[in-house]
Point group: C2
Chain length 179, copies 2
Amino acid sequence: MHQVASHTAVHPVAVPPQFPRFLHPVVRMKVLAGSPGTMGGLALRLAQTGFSLISLCIKISITGFSSISAFWFLVAAMVFQFIWSFSIGVLDTALLTKRSLWNPRIVSLVVVGDWVISMMTFAGACAAAGIVVLIHNDLDQCRSNHCGRFAVAAAMAFMSWIATTLSFVLAFWLFATRR
Amino acid sequence: MHQVASHTAVHPVAVPPQFPRFLHPVVRMKVLAGSPGTMGGLALRLAQTGFSLISLCIKISITGFSSISAFWFLVAAMVFQFIWSFSIGVLDTALLTKRSLWNPRIVSLVVVGDWVISMMTFAGACAAAGIVVLIHNDLDQCRSNHCGRFAVAAAMAFMSWIATTLSFVLAFWLFATRR
């Protein structure tokens, strides 16, 4: 330790220029807003929680939604999305003060969880949107069905998916560059 | 240059231990099979091309598929998937011998393209699967429709999506760790 310190004082130019190249991604990564453990990351979790809750409330307020399997799937996906985003949001809040707890293992778990949840949400939203289009355009039976509300519920699910995908990409970037 | 070389010879322990930590991801990244520009990557492209072609052929062989918007979307997604995977497969083949051409800019384009195409394929597959389930389980009208073939076409689209997602993750990893 003493040898290194005295050495850099004697030859200040010889070694330092080689470090920034390897340190660069590590330094840049911390600036990315929205990564786990930042205020941006917490805002993304809040957005996911909010959109999934709105979608869920609209969906279950429609009588007879349960007669279509794809709508059931969307409701299940929204419940999972809400629980996941809320939990990680709480974790984010707790870790905002204790950054040292964010280790690669936790980040990798968040990456996998975000991916699974975002895919579930996207699948549910696409299936629901496909059926809304089927009822609205192809069968033209919108009067007896709640097309508008189904469409809004699907749109909210898509918004929730966008926020989750952003969280996933930023957590993946953190994981890939920190290791 | 000469100063640095002579320096590491004089103090061999002082500096080198700090390098492997930063070099590690760069070294590991090259080993990942399936990354762009490897034989595994080419195999993934072949799988994507094959599955999308099978799905497309099954879909357009069914008379009356065009009456449902979601099935039209799946056909369009499969066409895009086929063109994209085939093009990148050809690029992969050409670059297998000239590795130096793989630069971060090309990799970033492949990452974005893979993501867009995989999302389109997944959306089409989910919408089609939702409608097949609607016809099969909820409406019980499978006799007059080609449920089995529609289901196989959706399954092939899902297989194509899995291969594209693998390509995307590996290309993203290459991009995130190389920079």
